[in-house]
């Protein structure tokens, strides 16, 4: 369903302005979509557990700075990048350990990490912008070249989806998020699963930091990491991942990211006033979410009230055929 909303939006913007469907816009659009997609995938790992990682956006701000510092300290760029990813993993591990072992809700744990990391970025950079370390091929591959970000994002989506849907680890993420006690009683190592999810989330956040750093070509210590993180959460949730845990989809997060990217890019092109833009974007996200949630409820026959019946009507229009086919398959 959310995919349909995306297509409808794309058609709307294309009709409204010929610039939207142009080749030059394709690379612009992809730079909107790619980071949101990776953040979305990162958050699906923790949201499916019923946890959240607020700090992933701040890891994103920190990571390219770390590469610069390590590079200044004499490490080669590639080595610096690898060490930085390890540091990001350690940050995720700390988030996970505090949440799992000390029993602090992840919302609070990672809220703490947000400020701590922000402090580290500001202290270490003195609030001054710098250029990312490394040029040439490394920079191009890691976000410098127009389409490299989106290629990375899609690759990460494929790997993320496979991990999530096709491996025991992925199954255990859903199991733990769905019923932690039951999973523990079935012998699933709940703590280990959770910590790994925080690690993955953080590493992905750090990786997007490289992509955007090399794309933009300068590193701003004041970048608002929280808003980027929230785009990721929004993409995941619009795509059908439940904040309450137990249900997540990587493909949904990818599509959600495309919808948000199309919205941002489209509004830019049709030239909505910069102040109105945030308002419209907010309303558009709310609208997409309400529709999505109600459709989901209607599908399971629980939709209530006006929105419920609206959603049911919409669904009947859309899936009159598909629903029947599904029932027939079950009957067989």
């Amino acid at each position: 369903m959310i995919a349909l909303i995306g297509v409808a939006l794309a058609i709307f913007f294309s009709v409204y302005s010929s610039a939207f469907a142009s080749v030059s816009n394709a690379s612009t659009l992809s730079t909107y979509v790619a980071p949101i997609m990776i953040f979305g995938i990162a958050e699906v790992f923790v949201l499916t557990l019923g946890e959240i990682d607020l700090s992933v956006g701040e890891v994103y701000v920190l990571s390219p700075f770390l590469v610069v510092y390590l590079n200044d300290a004499g490490l080669g760029v590639i080595a610096a990048i690898i060490v930085t990813l390890i540091i990001c993993a350690v940050i995720g591990c700390v988030n996970g350990l505090i949440t799992v072992r000390l029993g602090v809700p992840s919302f609070i744990t990672t809220l703490g990490t947000v400020f701590a990391l922000k402090g580290i970025v500001l202290l270490s950079s003195n609030g001054i912008q710098v250029n990312p370390a490394g040029t040439g091929t490394i920079a191009n591959v890691l976000g410098g070249w127009s389409y490299s970000s989106i290629i990375w994002a899609l690759a990460i989506a494929v790997v993320g989806h496979t991990l999530f849907r096709r491996t025991t680890f992925g199954l255990h993420i859903t199991a733990v998020g769905g019923n932690q006690t039951a999973s523990a009683e079935a012998g699933v190592k709940v703590g280990v699963v959770k910590i790994w999810c925080f690690v993955l989330c953080s590493v992905l956040g750090g990786f997007v930091g490289f992509l955007d750093g090399y794309r933009i070509g300068s590193l701003n210590p004041g970048t608002d990491g929280l808003i980027l993180m929230f785009y990721g959460v929004a993409a995941a949730v619009i795509g059908g991942t439940a904040l309450t845990g137990g249900r997540g989809t990587m493909i949904g997060a990818g599509i959600g990211a495309i919808v948000l990217g199309v919205l941002q890019d489209g509004f830019n092109i049709i030239g909505i006033n910069a102040f109105a833009y945030q308002l419209v974007l907010g309303l558009a996200i709310l609208g997409a979410m309400i529709l999505n949630v109600q459709l989901e409820l209607a599908r399971s026959g629980q939709g209530a009230g006006v929105y419920g019946s609206l959603a049911r009507t919409l669904m009947r229009l859309r899936t009159g055929g598909a629903g029947r086919r599904r029932r027939e398959r079950v009957a067989k």
Binding site: T168, S183, E185, A186, G187
Partner: protein, 251 residues
């Protein structure tokens, strides 16, 4: 299997105060007792989910120390927990195989969903558990069906030696209960599986069990063969000890 002097407290509440209990090969032991007596806690300890504060467990005469549910499973101990330990959002077959998935790809552990689905379907068919499909999420099943899935999960593997059933029939209709009782009795007879069954329904206990233990306030207070006792005697024992307790409390 044997446990000696098992104690367990949650904070200031002492739930088990020295439980001694034994289970012979192929034997079916019933455990009864009031709500909150500590029966489920005992089961969770025997299956390695909780560790006791003190006490010792023996398997085949050898002292063992279980560190986890996985550890207990390696010793052939399987459990149906009172809460059933099912994940609502997952399909029936994923629940049946939870944490014992059939995988391919070595260390990467890719799920072999096709195999699991087929095996689940075959096993549930064999033990005559009736569900719409192994693909439906467990949340779509009725209480009795969920219970049947939990029992099926614990009995699926051939290497189960000790089966712990914490109120396995609580939500079951007469027909389904009979099915589970038959399954359990069959396991005990043909494969020599030992069983510990917790149930508040004494009729079930007498139907299923060779021996019955009463747990009261964290201790085993009665241990009799079902042959040597009767429904009336057991009920009388429970009622009188209940009276005594009230008198003690008011004194």
């Amino acid at each position: 299997m044997q446990v000696e002097g098992i104690t367990k407290s949650f904070g200031a509440v002492s739930v088990l105060r020295g439980v001694d209990l034994h289970l012979e090969p192929g034997e079916v032991l019933g455990v009864v007792g009031a709500n909150g007596a500590g029966k489920s806690t005992l089961v969770k300890i025997i299956t390695g989910y909780l560790s006791p504060d003190s006490g010792q467990m023996y398997l085949g005469g050898e002292p063992v120390h279980l560190r986890s549910v996985q550890d207990a499973r390696r010793h052939g101990i399987e459990t149906v927990f009172q809460d059933l330990a099912l994940v609502d959002q997952l399909s029936v077959y994923h629940n049946l195989f939870l944490n014992r998935e059939t995988t391919t790809g070595g260390r990467l552990r890719f799920l072999n969903n096709r195999r699991m689905r087929a095996d689940a379907r075959r096993y549930l068919h064999n033990i005559q558990v009736d569900i719409p499909s192994v693909d439906v999420p467990v949340e779509k099943l009725s209480g009795g069906q969920r219970q049947a899935i939990a029992v099926a999960r614990a009995t699926r593997r051939d290497d189960v030696k000790i089966l712990l059933l914490d109120e396995p029939l609580a939500a079951m209709g007469a027909k389904e209960a009979k099915l589970i009782i038959d399954l359990v009795q069959n396991l005990a007879r043909t494969r020599g599986v030992s069983m510990l069954v917790i149930d508040h329904n004494y009729t079930h206990i007498f139907e299923l069990c060779d021996r019955v233990n009463v747990v009261e306030q964290g201790r085993v207070t009665l241990d009799k063969r079902t042959k040597d006792t009767s429904l009336a005697e057991l009920t009388e024992f429970m009622v009188s000890s209940y009276r005594q307790q009230i008198e003690e409390d008011s004194a």
